[in-house]
């Protein structure tokens, strides 16, 4: 692919990105600074940070509302209850209580508003992140995508993003209010008496540092828990995916022992977190009681009799009691703060991992660089092409091939000869590390996305089906009918593939099904075309899935069709029938068939023979089969495989020779 520099350019944009970029993975943001991350968040989800001043104001009102109670108590004590003038205390207190109640109501309202505002904005931003994420995933250059694990991408869009929701709803907003509450309480304590406040604040700072340290220990132990849980996951996963083998080999005991080990490992890792975790919680209590005792003793003493070198305070009883209350108003949020810090990390990591999808450059070819494929069947030209997977050795080399528009070419060779790589080069799934790949005279990397889709199609050995009916899976390829599969009602239709196939469409489907000769097979299914195929089509056999994929592709009507072992799971009779039907359907299109069944080669206009990544022969079947060479050998093996009347030689003696 001449234009394979495209993803590299994207990678260069990521600055210090390393690691992830090297194996062609997603953009790497773990080394990106806070400011850059913030810029990315603002750029992708602007709704989140809009109107920040109002949010902060609401937080202050909400936090301030919690301080009102100690203040009211102080006022009531000093100006009513302990006022030696006596009488009228109830009225003074009554007024104070009214003011306090008004402030509390204001705080509640501010809190409600704040919560609602932050929740809604966060969820809107996360929805945007999810939707943009899935969009970008389908835009990532195929060669980059090939190196990504599907499960990891799903995790980034689900549990990673859910960590943000969890954080926001279980402490994130409270954190905001807690911080404002601490600021206000700290200022108040300092105005009552800075001499009393100073030790309290120093002790708080000390507490904060120690708790952070312990929290780091807790975090490490939780990381160990996560590690043991992932071992547990794969052990249980093995037990449920491999149940048929476990059953048929009678090795339940062995599996049970492995699961028991993993379960015990997880429990032990979890128990390991207990001591630091709870010591950390207890520290807050220790600090509160030390501060309280200090305020009671020192506050009273320094306000009454004291030695010369002690500070002289003039605190009222009300102020002293208010300080006692404020100490706990100050320290409790601090405890919460330390605990939420761990969750902040989860949320930030989650958000970052989702952002890494969006920061990965789009591989979609559009704009000035993009070129359209010429109309009609598409010719293919490879000039001295080499390709490799990652940093591995080249799997094809010095490949120079020209396929005329409308030609039907078969590619044959042993496993590992580079057949599938050839298919991937034509369909942009792997870039050429050397040489040029041209489709219709256009470098494959510059063919516009719109032009590439639907005009170039590949049917792989293990095609993917959506969890819907057979009709829907075939019809998904219908050209120019976007409404058919839109999730128009938006609700309830969880499969989302739509459940209506209009009359006209079912006619088209019926036609394609009949022309591929699939009627007899469909008739064995209880619901025919309306049979649901299950997740990934797993309710169908491998061969049945291939039949559906072939019908789907036939409906798309591509101008370059690449069949990569597309009928390997189908029984011979159906295979031949389908191939014949496909041949009729694909007349006038360029077809590249990759197969180890030589029958494919026999029907092709031309056969390309690959061996160890190089093109060794090219020509008609009838010509090649007569000259000694790789093709003649492969064909001979095939003929023996399919038709030899002799029983295969008994080769069991080989076992002994090969035993080391």
């Amino acid at each position: 692919m001449a234009d394979h520099g495209r993803p590299d350019r994207g990678r260069a944009n990521q600055g210090r990105a390393d690691g992830g970029g090297a194996d062609g993975g997603l953009a790497e943001l773990s080394s990106v600074g806070v400011r850059e991350l913030g810029r990315l968040i603002r750029a992708t989800t602007p709704a989140l940070t809009a109107g920040l001043p109002l949010t902060v104001l609401l937080a202050f009102v909400a936090g301030g509302g919690r301080i009102v109670t100690p203040l009211t108590v102080q006022y009531a004590l000093d100006h009513g209850l302990l006022d030696s003038d006596g009488g009228g205390a109830a009225d003074v207190v009554g007024r104070a209580v009214l003011v306090g109640a008004a402030a509390t109501v204001a705080a509640v309202l501010a809190s409600c508003w704040l919560n609602r505002r932050v929740y809604r904005r966060t969820e809107a931003a996360l929805t945007e992140l999810r939707t943009q994420g899935i969009t970008r995933i389908h835009e990532i250059a195929p060669e980059t995508f090939a190196g990504l694990a599907g499960a990891d991408l799903v995790t980034r869009l689900t549990s990673d993003i859910e960590a943000v929701t969890t954080f926001v709803q279980n402490g994130g907003v409270a954190l905001l209010v807690n911080i404002t509450q601490m600021i206000i309480a700290g200022v108040l304590v300092a105005t009552y008496s800075w001499q009393l406040a100073l030790p309290v604040l120093v002790l708080s700072a000390l507490l904060f540092v120690v708790m952070r340290r312990l929290q780091a220990v807790v975090a490490r132990r939780y990381a160990a828990v996560r590690g043991s849980v992932s071992v547990l996951q794969s052990t249980v996963g093995e037990a449920v995916t491999g149940i048929a083998v476990i059953r048929s080999t009678g090795t339940e005991t062995r599996t049970r022992a492995a699961v028991d080990d993993a379960v015990a490992g997880t429990a032990s890792a979890q128990r390991h977190t207990l001591v630091p975790l709870h010591v950390n919680t207890a520290l807050g209590e220790v600090a509160i009681s030390a501060m309280t005792a200090f305020v009671v003793v020192a506050g009273t003493r320094w306000s009454t009799a004291h030695t010369r070198w002690e500070p002289a305070l003039h605190l009222s009883a009300g102020e002293l009691v208010a300080m006692l209350l404020l100490v706990s108003v100050f320290v409790r949020p601090l405890q919460a703060l330390v605990q939420t810090l761990g969750e902040i990390q989860n949320a930030v990591v989650g958000w970052r991992r989702a952002l890494e999808i969006l920061a990965t450059p789009s591989g979609v070819v559009t704009g000035a660089d993009a070129r359209e494929l010429p109309a009609g069947p598409i010719g293919v030209e490879l000039a001295d092409v080499a390709a490799a997977y990652g940093a591995g050795p080249p799997v094809v080399e010095h490949l120079t091939v020209a396929i005329a528009p409308g030609e039907h070419v078969a590619v044959v060779g042993e496993t590992g000869s580079g057949k599938s790589t050839f298919a991937k080069l034509l369909t942009r799934q792997i870039p050429a590390s050397r040489g040029r790949v041209l489709l219709g005279g256009v470098p494959v990397g510059r063919v516009s996305e719109a032009s590439f889709q639907r005009r170039v199609a590949i049917v792989p050995q293990d095609p993917f089906l959506f969890d819907a009916t057979i009709a829907e899976n075939i019809g998904v390829g219908l050209r120019g009918d976007p409404d058919l599969f839109n999730d128009s009602d938006g609700l309830g239709d969880s499969d989302g593939l739509g459940d209506s196939d209009g009359l006209g469409d079912s006619d088209v489907l019926g036609e394609i099904v009949s022309s591929l000769g699939l009627r007899p097979w469909l008739d064995t299914l209880p619901d025919g075309l309306d049979t649901r195929v299950g997740v990934r089509g797993e309710r169908l056999s491998a061969g049945e899935r291939q039949l559906v994929a072939l019908a789907r592709t036939a409906l798309v009507d591509p101008d370059l069709l690449v069949l990569d072992e597309a009928t390997s799971g189908i029984d011979p009779a159906t295979d031949v029938r389908v191939q014949r039907a496909l041949a009729a359907l694909t007349v006038g299109r360029t077809t590249v068939s990759i197969a180890h069944r030589m029958v494919t080669a026999e029907h092709a206009d031309r056969v390309l023979v690959l061996d160890h990544g190089r093109l060794v022969q090219s020509g008609r079947h009838s010509d090649l089969v007569r000259v000694p060479g790789r093709y003649a050998e492969l064909h001979a093996a095939w003929v023996e495989h399919t038709s030899s009347g002799d029983e295969p030689r008994r080769t069991l003696h080989r076992q002994k020779e090969s035993t080391p």
Partner: protein, 605 residues
């Protein structure tokens, strides 16, 4: 929550309710760990009481130290020490019980999780294949991991909440003791907080479930979209996927927002209710203090008590809020533990040592409404090689499943070695019969471990390397293993993903051959092999003739040619059984399949 029944099986106790069933679950978990539970409960109660005592200490200090000292009165030296000592002493009791309660709780919680998790996975291992095929492995995995976690979530606050209930009781008694009016304020507070919490919990439960469902729906759609990326690309479905997955994301947003809206209102209200109570106490208390019925210290004590009362109330609410999540987990766990679709075993054994005959008598099978097989009569003689041939979807794999008793037939009887398969004792079939399925499955770990498993099923001994290599050679996998960097000790990755499909297929075949089975059933087990390799493997299979009964599925002539007889299936019915030559003559459909590639007729026509 898990009870051992008389048959030794663990069961879920609980039922449909959220609250009582949740409490029962916690109670059962505690009973299963009596020592830790006792420590947790005692520490919880003591801790709760220290909150009341702490407030009393502050009140005492106010009355006996702060007020008289600041009023210029004389305060004895002992009072100073007593005030500081009371505050610090109560605190020491409090923080030690915090640690003790936390650790004890963790032991009960993690111990209970481990126990239920083991029970669930054990059940998985006992439930039959038909059950497993109806349940997605991902769902089962998440039940064993996440649902079990969820079941025990409330345990985190169980002893804490228990202590707090005690604390509330003590506090209310205390307040009533000081003044009935203050007591009433306390009761009103506790009542309204708990009442609001119940309402909150009810409103939240449905919404939390909706969020959970939407998350699952979104995850499934996202996974499908990502797994189908190649189709999305080639067919240009990106816009459709954006709309489809985006709509699911939007439904998730609506569900989450709806939950957030509820907590937006309830959280601040619940949080500020104690403040309102404090204000009420001040208003009521001021008159009492005025009239001399109440000391300022007691008023301060009650205020302090109410300030800390938000902790127990929020702990109790959080405990209650976790119950619905726990209940959801419990119902999924119960569905597993209560499933009775286990394979029943008889007591008979397979005597002798030679090859085993296999027989289907009037066998039929239906799965999910689809008639897969009907009226199959087939008898495979000991030591015979029989090929199963049929078009895609004709029921070959189903017949293999039934003959190996992977699944029991809906109709008819399967016999192995002349004994009804249902009458055979547990472990008999795996010890004598091997199946190699279409999709080659391997466990993580080394090749050696994958081949060995539990060792020789009948002789109860581990395999020697010589035996391993011999089986590998027969399956055409010796060169594969020799070329790997660590040979037999090469780790194959999770589910064998580091190997190609063809390599896995050969290793799975080797795993079966190694066990020297008396009957082997091969379900298209050579489909991913190159013709030359397949030829050698089939030759090795042919060499089993006489010693091992072989049933082989495969439409390719190569596998038919090593067979003594061929059974031909069409649309779930056994159409004909005979030699290859007989069937070529008699069955046009059979001829069509075998001669599809236009080469097989000359040899046998």
């Amino acid at each position: 929550m898990v009870k051992r029944r008389h048959d030794g099986r663990e069961r879920v106790r609980g039922g449909d309710g959220t609250f009582w069933a949740g409490l029962r679950t916690m109670l059962d978990g505690s009973i299963a760990h009596p020592g830790a539970a006792l420590v947790g409960a005692v520490a919880g109660v003591v801790n709760g009481v220290t909150m009341v005592l702490g407030a009393a200490a502050i009140g005492w200090a106010t009355d006996h130290l702060i007020v008289p000292a600041l009023a210029g009165g004389d305060v004895g030296r002992a009072t100073w020490w007593l005030a500081a000592g009371a505050i610090l002493g109560v605190s020491t009791l409090r923080w030690t019980t915090i640690i003790a309660r936390g650790i004890a709780t963790g032991h009960v919680q993690y111990g209970s999780q481990a126990r239920v998790r083991r029970a669930v996975v054990r059940r998985y291992l006992e439930l039959d294949l038909a059950w497993h095929r109806r349940h997605a492995p991902g769902r089962l995995l998440s039940t064993a991991v996440s649902d079990v976690d969820a079941l025990w979530f409330p345990m985190v606050f169980w002893f804490f909440a228990f202590g707090m209930v005690v604390m509330l009781a003590v506090a209310l008694v205390q307040m009533f003791g000081h003044d009935p009016a203050l007591g009433l304020v306390g009761v009103a507070l506790v009542g309204s907080v708990l009442g609001l919490n119940l309402l909150y919990q009810r409103l939240l439960a449905a919404r939390a479930r909706a969020v959970q469902d939407s998350r699952g729906e979104f995850a499934a759609l996202a996974l499908e979209s990502i797994e189908g990326a190649q189709v999305v690309r080639t067919l240009g479905l990106a816009d459709r996927e954006r709309a489809r997955v985006g709509a699911a994301a939007d439904r998730l947003r609506r569900a989450t927002t709806s939950m957030g809206d509820v907590s937006s209102v309830f959280d601040p209200v619940l949080e500020q209710l104690p403040s309102v109570a404090i204000l009420a106490v001040l208003a009521v208390g001021a008159r009492r203090v005025d009239s001399g019925e109440l000391s300022v210290g007691v008023l301060v004590e009650v205020v302090y008590l109410l300030l800390t009362i938000s902790i127990p109330l929020s702990v109790i609410s959080r405990f209650l809020a976790m119950l619905p999540i726990s209940a959801a987990g419990r119902s999924r766990i119960a569905a597993v533990l209560d499933s009775d679709e286990t394979t029943a075993y008889g007591t008979r054994t397979l005597a002798g040592a030679g090859a085993l005959g296999l027989r289907a008598r009037g066998v039929g099978h239906i799965q999910g409404g689809r008639h897969l097989l009907a009226d199959v009569e087939l008898s495979v003689r000991p030591g015979e090689i029989v090929a199963l041939v049929g078009a895609t979807g004709s029921g070959k794999s189903t017949l293999i499943d039934l003959l190996a008793r992977q699944v029991d037939p809906a109709d008819g009887v399967v016999e192995i070695g002349g004994v009804r398969a249902r009458d055979l004792a547990r472990g008999e079939i795996p010890a004598h019969l091997a199946v190699v399925s279409q999709s080659p499955w391997m466990a993580g770990g080394s090749i050696r471990a994958n081949l060995r498993l539990d060792g020789h099923p009948r002789e109860r001994r581990p395999y020697t390397d010589a035996e391993l290599w011999q089986a590998l050679a027969a399956a055409g996998a010796d060169t594969v293993v020799r070329d790997l960097p660590d040979g037999l000790d090469t780790r194959v990755g999770e589910r064998g993903t580091r190997l190609s499909g063809g390599q896995r297929q050969r290793l799975c075949l080797a795993r079966a051959l190694l066990r020297a089975p008396r009957a082997i059933l091969l379900d298209d087990a050579t489909s991913a092999l190159d013709p030359a390799v397949e030829r050698d493997v089939l030759a090795a299979v042919a060499g089993l003739r006489g010693r091992t009964t072989v049933l082989i599925v495969g439409g390719r002539p190569s596998s038919v040619l090593i067979a003594d007889r061929v059974a031909f299936l069409r649309a779930g019915r056994l159409v004909a059984v005979g030699t290859h030559a007989e069937l070529l003559d008699a069955e046009p459909d059979y001829r069509r399949i075998l001669q599809a590639y236009g080469t097989a007729d000359t040899a046998h026509g």
